[in-house]
């Protein structure tokens, strides 16, 4: 579903990533790790079509990203759930409305969807915060709201960029459990993180593969973490 073939990406200065070939297997659980500035976020952005590779080809759900029009990219985003590093909410809408935003922009605000939404809010433990505004949320609540928004369209893939970046250990465990549950429902999960203890904690719950960015390339790390 997500395939990178000999992909390179460079910002003005120089190459950040090069010769990356990667194929995410459906239903698997991945961690993407590497030092800060190694290009984790960039690689994720390549995976959801926010960036075009400088060279090579990114294929998402069978479509070459470089050939997609803007509407094609929009359609693609509805099939992928993305948890962004900074969550990116609309601050003038309530938490519920923010979580339902993907439904609204794709015109799928049906009654059934409304029930799903209630269930989803309960699943991430935000029912009591439904009418709160995003700026009123704590770090952990924001991350859970972002996760709920990412999965409301029931995507095949969930991409999360440092979902545990700003939360304490207990909350990061809770988020991890939610992501593992999603994976058990058959969704492919890719989490970018520099938190190795999170990866270790995950290994006891799910068979996770670890991709490490080093020297501008992605390597499949062994079980030696």
């Amino acid at each position: 579903m997500i395939e990178l073939e000999n992909v390179a990406y460079s910002y003005g200065g120089g190459a950040l990533l090069s010769e990356i070939s990667l194929q995410l297997a459906p239903g698997s659980f991945y961690f993407l790790t590497g030092p800060s500035g190694a290009g984790k976020t960039t690689l994720l952005k390549l995976c959801y079509g926010a960036l075009q590779p400088t060279s090579g080809a990114v294929t998402l759900f069978g479509d070459d990203v470089s050939r997609l029009q803007r509407d094609g990219i929009a359609a693609l985003r509805r099939r992928m759930g993305v948890v962004h590093q900074d969550c990116s909410f609309l601050d003038h809408l309530t938490v519920t409305e923010n979580i339902a935003l993907p439904l609204r922009v794709s015109g799928r605000q049906t009654k059934a969807a409304q029930e799903d939404l209630t269930e989803l809010m309960a699943w991430v433990g935000l029912t009591h915060r439904a009418e709160a505004m995003p700026p009123e949320l704590s770090g952990g609540e924001r991350q859970r709201a972002a996760l709920a928004r990412a999965v409301i369209m029931s995507p095949d893939v969930v991409l999360a960029d440092e979902p545990t970046g700003n939360v304490d250990w207990e909350m990061s465990q809770r988020l991890l459990r939610l992501l593992v549950e999603l994976n058990k429902m058959g969704k492919t999960v890719l989490i970018a993180t520099h938190d190795l203890s999170l990866i270790r904690a995950a290994k006891s719950q799910v068979q996770a593969r670890v991709l490490r960015i080093a020297n501008r390339q992605v390597q499949l790390a062994g079980a030696d973490l």
Binding site: R70, A74, R77, F89, H92, R104, V105, S106
Partner: protein, 299 residues
């Protein structure tokens, strides 16, 4: 712009607006500016229509009639009048010609001399009224013939003083239309600026919407809808206020009948209602262009 799009814009997902935060003060500025433009546009329209009427009326009335003055000693006057009428009968393009009677001339001069004066005591020229056919006649040719046969006749086809007046009225009308056009362009410029400002201020919102899978069309619509409705609403208020003021203008009196009232006449009263509609169309196009330009630059 397809009909479906317009329908969706008017009746579509009203909630879609909500994804863009309300903008308060700047929104009111847009409404105010659209209203002010519409207000001015109604006057430009009234001016254009009035000067159009004026040009048409002066043109029509004066073009169809001419006058011959017979200035001759009293004893020759009747003979010269007869001769002139004879020439006119054989002139192509003259539909009808007749000498004005004494009482008619008296009535014409009454404003200056009063009704008591006996005109026979004065060497007042005899007037002959000529009604032209639509094709008109050859004034220069007629003058030559009159000069040869009726020395006391002077042909006045009114064109000397009519032409500049009609020209002026036509120029005034053109000025009115240019003003209306400029006002329309100003609405477009104002809305474009406001839309750019709104799009720039909401770059973050747009980025979030893109990330959750909103199409450009969806995002643009939230902006387009707002600005179109604001321009329409503002222009409607401005136009109605201006129309009320036009309606309250004093009517041009009978005495000043060669001028014309600035007020709208008959079905022309419906024309100002086109201004809000046009404003809405202009705002729609301007916002669409601005939104599409801006969105293409964003990831």
């Amino acid at each position: 712009m397809r009909l479906v799009d317009v329908k969706r814009l008017v009746f579509g997902d009203r909630q879609a607006d909500k994804v863009v935060p309300p903008s308060g003060f700047t929104a009111q500025l847009t409404v105010f500016a659209a209203g002010a433009m519409a207000f001015l546009a109604v006057f430009a329209l009234a001016l254009s229509l009035a000067s159009g009427r004026l040009a048409a009326r002066w043109g029509d009335e004066l073009a169809q009639s001419s006058t011959i003055r017979i200035v001759a000693p009293m004893d020759q006057r009747a003979a010269q009048t007869e001769a002139a009428l004879g020439i006119l009968e054989t002139t192509a393009g003259v539909a009808f010609a007749r000498a004005l009677g004494e009482d008619e001339q008296q009535a014409l001069l009454a404003p200056w001399f009063g009704t008591e004066l006996d005109l026979r005591a004065l060497p007042v020229p005899q007037l002959i009224e000529i009604i032209e056919e639509d094709s008109g006649f050859d004034a220069a040719g007629l003058r030559l013939r009159l000069a040869a046969e009726v020395p006391g006749a002077i042909l006045d086809d009114h064109s000397q003083w009519r032409a500049p007046l009609v020209d002026a009225a036509n120029r005034l009308r053109l000025l009115g239309w240019i003003s209306a056009g400029l006002l329309g362009a100003s609405v477009a410029a104002m809305v474009t600026l406001a839309a750019h400002a709104a799009l720039a201020a909401n770059a973050q919102v747009i980025a979030v919407l893109r990330l959750v899978g909103a199409t450009d069309r969806y995002i643009a619509q939230a902006f387009i809808r707002r600005f179109t409705l604001r321009a329409f609403g503002g222009a409607m208020v401005g136009a109605v206020v201006a129309m009320a003021m036009v309606a309250l203008l004093p009517d041009a009196s009978e005495r000043a009948g060669f001028l014309t009232g600035l007020s709208f006449q008959g079905w022309h009263w419906f024309l100002p209602f086109l201004i809000p509609l046009l404003s809405a169309v202009v705002a729609f196009l301007a916002t669409s262009a601005a939104a599409n330009r801006t969105l293409k630059r964003l990831a």
